[in-house]
């Protein structure tokens, strides 16, 4: 019998081969792909996020959990459309113009995927124009911007202003984060949300798309 609880547990423990085996088993037993995703993979990553926020888990534990989740996700993804499962939201993610750091951004991406989002990873050094293109081309609901440096932080405001000037501000929510970023700064530049860490980024994104 399919062990969805076991999938979640092994995601939490970062046991990628076990997650793969259990997901294969569940698929073979015709368990609904949405249930495998929600009750197994997403549930496991949800626990990982909470533990990360509470300093019970650190980066290595998050990375091995994300690797396990991805291994299961690769098996489930092709089945989701047939099962009528939609992502909880679509989000474009990038490190702002002038900033080449991607560790924090990648962690956020893992947490977002683990929360059931479809993530459009725009990479590093992302210009306001590239963020805008993601709204029109990919129809994302949320733009998530990351910056590690106080000197690159102003690109967040530049991007928000550019989105407004393009007449797209009402089409998208803006979420920001990164070492020097604060809620105060988010308020000052007119962002819709701020996340203090990667796991909170996924929580905030769910709030912004109205599924939290």
């Amino acid at each position: 019998m399919a062990d969805l609880e076991g999938i979640a547990e092994n995601v939490i423990r970062g046991q990628a081969p076990k997650v793969k085996a259990l997901v294969e088993e569940a698929i073979a037993e015709n368990v609904n792909a949405g249930d495998i995703l929600r009750e197994g993979l997403i549930k496991g990553m949800g626990v990982v996020g909470e533990k990360f926020k509470n300093n019970e888990f650190y980066v290595p534990e998050v990375l091995i959990a994300a690797r396990a989740m991805k291994m299961g996700m690769e098996l489930v993804r092709p089945l989701l459309a047939d099962a009528g499962v939609e992502p909880v939201g679509k989000i474009a993610l990038g490190t702002v113009k002038g900033d080449l750091h991607d560790i924090g951004k990648n962690l956020v991406g893992m947490m977002l995927e683990g929360a059931g989002f479809e993530v459009v990873d725009l990479g590093i050094d992302v210009s306001p124009e590239q963020f805008i293109s993601s709204i029109t081309e990919h129809e994302v609901q949320v733009i998530a911007m990351s910056a590690l440096l106080t000197t690159t932080m102003p690109s967040m405001k530049t991007t928000i202003d550019a989105i407004s000037e393009a007449g797209l501000r009402d089409n998208v929510k803006v979420l920001i984060g990164g070492a020097p970023v604060t809620q105060k700064y988010a308020d000052e530049i007119g962002a819709d949300g701020y996340a203090r860490d990667a796991a909170s980024g996924a929580d905030q994104a769910k709030v912004l798309v109205g599924v939290a």
Partner: protein
């Protein structure tokens, strides 16, 4: 009181005439920006910076505890927009040419597994002394004589490199994180090998020259804490620091051993102390490592270098004054040489930096260096502050 006596006394909570006049420098991007704001055009790097502001010097013992020979640096791709190259650590990286950032984007790391450790790194980390000290024995004897002279007035230190940080540099942040779970025995073996190498190399130096401090680095924390758990750090790293610390303290029990780690280091302080590290640098206040909270928690078990919140210098004169007033009572207790909590970023103006430095020197009784004070650009800046100071 010489600078050396002053430095040692501060680090041991003993009374001094004033704290040492030390700072951590600035980002390379600062120099062209500040030159537009009055900094002379010939101040282009941190050596120039130290000379220009007349900060107190340090003396370092030349003993190499790192790679005996670097990887071959090689440009792989060079376009109008970017350059992709391999550096001396074997790391493949990309730098952009539009001036948006001088920080590289890392593309590939050489340390991936046991095979790459054994083939690429072990031959560069052989535990031997000859290639790690000045080639000429007479040069070493001269250094020994100079630093052992009772009249030598500059603090003498040695670098002890890094244990986990080096592996992070060679394997990448994600690579080393994965290795901790995929091959923990290899991580332990690598850390242990580095500790054995470092202990062996510094053994000669610390027994032949009385050092005041040993300085290492880790840089394994970000704004929410260390990248790995304190439990894992204790298991993989702490006992190896103890080996290095024992080597140093059997020669000089009073030597300060400090480590450079940016980010929020609060959860690492206890494991460092257990390993014999008793000094913190640069105490990045802006990332959550509050030096006052550290002082209140650890008292004289921990000494600090740094801890002045760089964001106060970005904010302006009032914030600078508040920050210095905030730390002063604790600096006055001893065991703390305050300076900016990392290299000064380019969003700090030259004027704010000069103001910070002036106020710090004033508040802590540090003599204002004559040559610096007589510079026309400094006089011009200060003339604007009449009534502010």
């Amino acid at each position: 009181m010489t600078h050396r006596e002053r430095w040692v006394r501060v680090m041991h909570f003993q009374p001094v005439d004033h704290i040492p006049d030390e700072e951590f420098g600035a980002w390379n991007e600062n120099f062209p920006v500040w030159q537009e704001q009055g900094l002379p055009k010939d101040v282009n790097n941190n050596s120039d910076f130290d000379r220009y502001f007349q900060f107190a010097p340090r003396s370092g013992i030349p003993a190499n505890v790192g790679l005996s020979h670097g990887f071959k640096s090689e440009v792989l791709e060079d376009t109008d927009q970017y350059r992709i190259y391999i550096d001396g650590n074997g790391v493949k990286q990309q730098v952009f040419k539009d001036g948006s950032s001088s920080i590289p984007h890392y593309l590939e790391f050489p340390l991936k597994d046991r095979k790459s450790w054994e083939e690429l790194f072990l031959p560069r980390l052989e535990i031997e002394l000859e290639s790690r000290y000045p080639e000429n024995r007479s040069d070493w004897e001269q250094i020994k004589a100079r630093y052992s002279d009772p009249g030598w007035s500059i603090p003498v230190g040695i670098t002890i490199g890094s244990l986990f940080g080096w592996i992070r540099n060679w394997a990448g942040f994600e690579g080393v994180s994965m290795l901790c779970y995929d091959d923990p025995d290899l991580v332990k073996e690598m850390v242990s090998h580095l500790a054995a190498l470092i202990s062996k190399v510094i053994h000669r130096a610390v027994h032949e020259i009385k050092i005041d401090y040993a300085a290492g680095w880790e840089d394994i924390a970000f704004n929410h804490g260390p990248i790995l758990s304190p439990k894992m750090f204790r298991e993989f790293v702490t006992p190896n620091y103890r080996r290095i610390a024992d080597t140093i303290r059997e020669a000089n029990p009073d030597a300060v051993i400090y480590t450079d780690c940016d980010g929020n280091i609060n959860d690492l302080i206890e494991p460092w102390l257990e390993g014999g590290i008793n000094g913190l640098f640069p105490v990045e206040s802006a990332a959550g490592s509050d030096p006052i909270a550290i002082r209140k928690k650890y008292g004289d078990r921990v000494v600090m270098l740094g801890g002045v919140n760089k964001r106060a210098l970005i904010a302006g004169k009032e914030a600078i004054k508040e920050e210095l007033e905030r730390i002063k009572p604790y600096v006055d207790e001893g065991g703390w040489i305050p300076h900016v909590d990392h290299r000064v970023p380019p969003d700090v103006t030259f004027e704010n930096y000069v103001y910070y430095l002036h106020l710090k020197r004033e508040m802590f009784g540090i003599p204002h260096p004559e040559e610096f004070e007589s510079r026309p650009e400094i006089k011009a800046i200060k003339a604007k502050w009449k009534g502010v100071l």
